[in-house]
């Protein structure tokens, strides 16, 4: 018979306010097996822990039940506590009296009864607990960074500078991400490309970083320290090892004015063979197989023609003829790369809201209504208009420019109730740029509230108003329509309390940021969760802001939530620090509460092998007898095998059938 000690925590008034802790503690001493029972104000405090340690030593307690908050909160704290008292840390059971009782039960009597039931169950369960020891796993000291925007670049550089190997995977042909598309950055107005390009080059040249552009993560297996990742390297049809980036092929592609360039937000064309922008890293063109005439035309070898007739030739192929080095290889195939990593960093960034959902703003059909990103490209000297601010409809300089904030932000009716955080600032920046480039143009900004919480941000918005003369009008625009070559805005000045109508030549919509369309799929691949809007969920918004629920995986930047460049860079640095902490261990302790198959009971039916979501169970043979075996390092302790096992051979340590049945029995009997 084990001797169990019960400790009930008041948690201030969190538990004691609803549960009669003294009564629970007094009654608990009568539970069979309990030799000691007490209650105290804060068990997790240093004094509280000392009480527990002393009681264990004095009363020869060998198993402990603590009635406190959720085990998610303090299970580890108390495991360390009882370890200090000389017990195995797994001889502990926590009865969750806060989240499961006091916070959710209104009536004091029933709360007390429920609390006592949970304590009984915990005593029953712990009396069958067995001492466990953690296993050891080695750490593969290489990091995978998914996404090559400023978040990924910063994280990769920081990790690489610590001396660890990094592989960066980028979906597009070049790294750089959203920041590469911007012209200037707020609140300092320094040129985005000028501060970003050196870092892009650093990534390309860093001896510890391997860059895989035009690639995507397909599959992730394994566990912290030992992830097995499959990466699909899409065929570029250009041999990177030969190409020198002369771009002769790009200039000769017959489709070079035909396909909208994604980098320019579709406002400028590219060819079927292209580099997205001039400062691209790596500066190696790719062939877009959806458009390339050679790749789309049928292979003559596969066509059967009547005798005497000529086989049709493949179309085009100009780039291959122009390339003197012979770097173009139309037979290139997608490549699957399998590699091992110790940590994974998600830095996949964000998308911008599609303003087609706003019928009242023309649903994208009015040419002079453009988005903030369109404007960034327009005002950029390497953009479609070479930096000239012109009306897309007729190419003339606008005399009156209106900005509309919160398009696809703070709009529950459109499904996006959150604030995108960057739009107030980038609109102020763009208002300044308009006034700088076109001093004769009037600027109106329709806003609801200005969110300028950041270093120098509020001053920046005031500068736009006071120094540059941008006129701020408080009120959401209700409708935009075209009339006599102008745009008419139906708006209101809510401070005056009056509706107003205004003509403008050009309207720039401050579209908010949304999660990438493939973020949920990526989260599923990695085995983590997203929030309701598709952003990656962190473990704790305040204390674990870059950790995600799967150990060894971290996230940074706008993949987590909308954020600006300073915050993105800060979280990227934080991720690098976390990866550094992980990689400073040569060996990690693995959780011993994993599944285990008793070979003497196993009938080798194979049910567990099939249901295991982590592929951690295999069939083994020993002296002619087959049985299932769990790879304890890969097992995540989900318990699916235990539920599937008919003879009861697969058991989850710390949650055995024996323990569960005993805890149910305890609730029903005593």
């Amino acid at each position: 018979m084990s001797s169990v000690g019960v400790f009930i925590c008041h948690c201030g008034t969190n538990i004691a306010g609803k549960v009669d802790v003294a009564k629970v503690s007094d009654d608990a001493i009568n539970i069979p097996g309990v030799v000691y029972s007490s209650h105290q104000k804060y068990s997790c405090s240093e004094a509280g822990q000392k009480v527990i340690i002393d009681a264990i030593k004095e009363n020869r307690i060998d198993k402990v039940v603590i009635g406190s908050c959720s085990p998610k909160m303090h299970e580890n704290t108390f495991r360390k506590t009882i370890e200090q008292a000389g017990l195995n840390p797994y001889m502990l059971e926590i009865a969750n009296l806060r989240e499961h009782v006091s916070w959710v039960t209104a009536d004091k009597d029933s709360a007390t009864r429920k609390a006592f039931d949970l304590v009984k169950a915990a005593v029953g369960k712990v009396s069958f607990a067995k001492p466990l020891t953690p296993g050891q796993v080695t750490v593969e000291k290489r990091a995978l960074v998914i996404g090559g925007g400023i978040a990924g670049i910063q994280a990769a550089l920081d990790i690489a500078n610590m001396g660890y190997e990094v592989v960066m995977v980028e979906k597009e042909p070049s790294i750089g991400g959203r920041m590469a598309q911007l012209d200037k950055t707020f609140p300092t107005l320094d040129c985005s490309a000028c501060i970003l390009s050196p870092r892009m080059v650093d990534v390309a040249q860093h001896p510890n970083i391997r860059l895989l552009t035009y690639s995507e993560v397909e599959n992730v297996n394994g566990y912290v320290g030992n992830f097995n990742v499959t990466i699909r390297k899409k065929a570029k049809f250009v041999d990177e090892s030969i190409c020198t980036g002369c771009l002769e092929c790009v200039t000769k592609c017959p489709l070079k004015k035909k396909i909208p360039n994604e980098f320019e937000n579709g406002k400028a064309p590219r060819g079927a063979i292209y580099v997205p922008f001039a400062q691209a890293v790596p500066k190696v063109p790719v062939i877009d197989k959806e458009h390339c005439q050679w790749l789309l035309s049928p292979d003559p070898d596969t066509i059967e023609v009547a005798e005497g007739e000529k086989k049709p030739k493949r179309k085009c192929g100009v780039c291959a003829k122009k390339c003197e080095l012979g770097a173009i290889d139309f037979d290139m195939q997608d490549e699957l790369i399998n590699e091992k990593f110790g940590a994974i960093v998600i830095a996949t960034g964000f998308n911008l809201f599609d303003h087609k959902k706003y019928g009242e703003y023309g649903a994208g059909e009015i040419p002079d209504v453009i988005t903030g990103l369109d404007f960034e490209r327009m005002v950029n000297s390497s953009g479609p208009t070479e930096g000239k601010i012109v009306r897309p409809s007729n190419g003339e300089k606008p005399k009156k420019v209106a900005f509309i904030q919160c398009v696809g932000s703070r709009d529950e009716a459109k499904g996006i109730p959150y604030c995108s955080r960057i739009c107030c600032m980038y609109t102020a920046k763009q208002a300044i740029l308009v006034r700088e480039k076109l001093p004769d143009a009037e600027v109106y900004v329709f806003y609801m509230d200005i969110r300028a919480g950041g270093k120098g941000y509020e001053e920046f918005v005031l500068r736009a108003q006071r120094e540059y003369g941008a006129n701020y009008v408080r009120g959401r625009v209700s409708r935009i329509y075209e009339q006599d070559g102008h745009l008419v805005l139906k708006a209101a000045d809510t401070i005056l309390g009056m509706p107003l109508e205004m003509e403008a030549d050009m309207v720039i919509l401050a579209t908010g940021s949304i999660a990438r369309e493939d973020s949920v799929a990526l989260a599923n691949t990695i085995g983590i969760t997203t929030d309701a809007y598709g952003f990656i969920s962190e473990v704790h918004p305040k204390l674990k802001p870059v950790e995600v629920p799967r150990e060894g995986v971290f996230a940074c930047g706008a993949a987590l939530s909308p954020r600006d460049i300073p915050d993105t860079v800060a979280t990227a640095g934080a991720v690098a620090a976390k990866v550094g902490v992980l990689f400073s261990n040569d060996i990690l302790m693995s959780d011993p509460m994993v599944a285990n198959v008793d070979p003497m009971v196993c009938v080798a039916c194979g049910a567990c092998v099939e249901v295991c979501p982590y592929s951690a169970i295999t069939m083994e043979e020993f002296r002619g007898k087959k049985f299932a075996k769990v790879n304890e390092a890969m097992c995540q302790g989900c318990g699916t095998c235990s539920a599937a096992c008919r003879p009861g051979a697969a058991q989850l340590r710390g949650q055995t059938d024996e323990q569960i049945l005993k805890s149910i029995e305890a609730v029903l009997q005593w």
């Binding site: 209700s478 209101a492 309390g497």
Partner: protein, 189 residues
């Protein structure tokens, strides 16, 4: 209605606010006063206060809102509701406030109020509206016998004011709607 230079209310009148919420089926606290309703409202330019100020007064639970003309002249086109980022049906809020105002005996726009009454009366009698008696009833109610004749006479000759109205087929059944217990209860309020 004149708002005055100083808001005289010292605290939010929760009862009035809740009554507006109940009658309209909306939550006036959902509104964050962006003014998009005002910006799109076809009648707001001709009113004493614009819709978003109606919403603000409703959030205060201020009885000032009962004196507004805006609530009576809302044509319930629901442009405000269509474009509202918070899905607030401002037209329903205005309608709810008119109900309360009427109960309190405050009718800021007697013409609009009379039109509603006579319209419903006409519908009650015929199952649908009969324009000519409605127009005549309005003349009597407002004692404005010669107004709008420049529009009314051409409309009469265009056949827009038929002499004989039509009744719907099952009028008795239809009228039960008005005589139901629930309708009477709401009417008494």
């Amino acid at each position: 209605m004149v708002l005055g230079a100083i808001a005289r209310f010292k605290s939010v009148d929760v009862d009035l606010k809740k009554e507006i919420d109940r009658l309209s089926g909306q939550k006036v606290d959902m509104c964050y006063l962006c003014g998009k309703c005002t910006a799109g409202c076809p009648v707001a330019p001709y009113q004493d206060i614009p819709p978003h100020i109606v919403m603000r007064l409703a959030q205060w639970g201020s009885s000032k809102v009962l004196e507004s003309k805006m609530i009576w002249n809302c044509v319930a086109c629901a442009t405000c509701y269509t474009r509202c980022p918070n899905d607030v049906d401002v037209a329903k809020v205005c309608e709810a406030i008119t109900q309360i105002a009427k109960r309190e005996g405050i009718v800021a726009d007697p013409v609009a109020s009379a039109l509603r009454e006579k319209f419903v009366e006409s519908v009650k009698n015929n199952g649908r509206v009969h324009e000519l008696p409605l127009a005549m009833a309005m003349k009597v109610a407002t004692k404005d016998y010669l107004g709008d004749l420049d529009v009314g006479i051409p409309m009469f000759f265009q056949g827009k004011f038929p002499l004989f109205g039509h009744q719907i087929k099952d009028l008795n059944n239809f009228q039960k709607l008005f005589n139901s217990k629930k309708a009477k209860k709401e009417g008494d309020k």
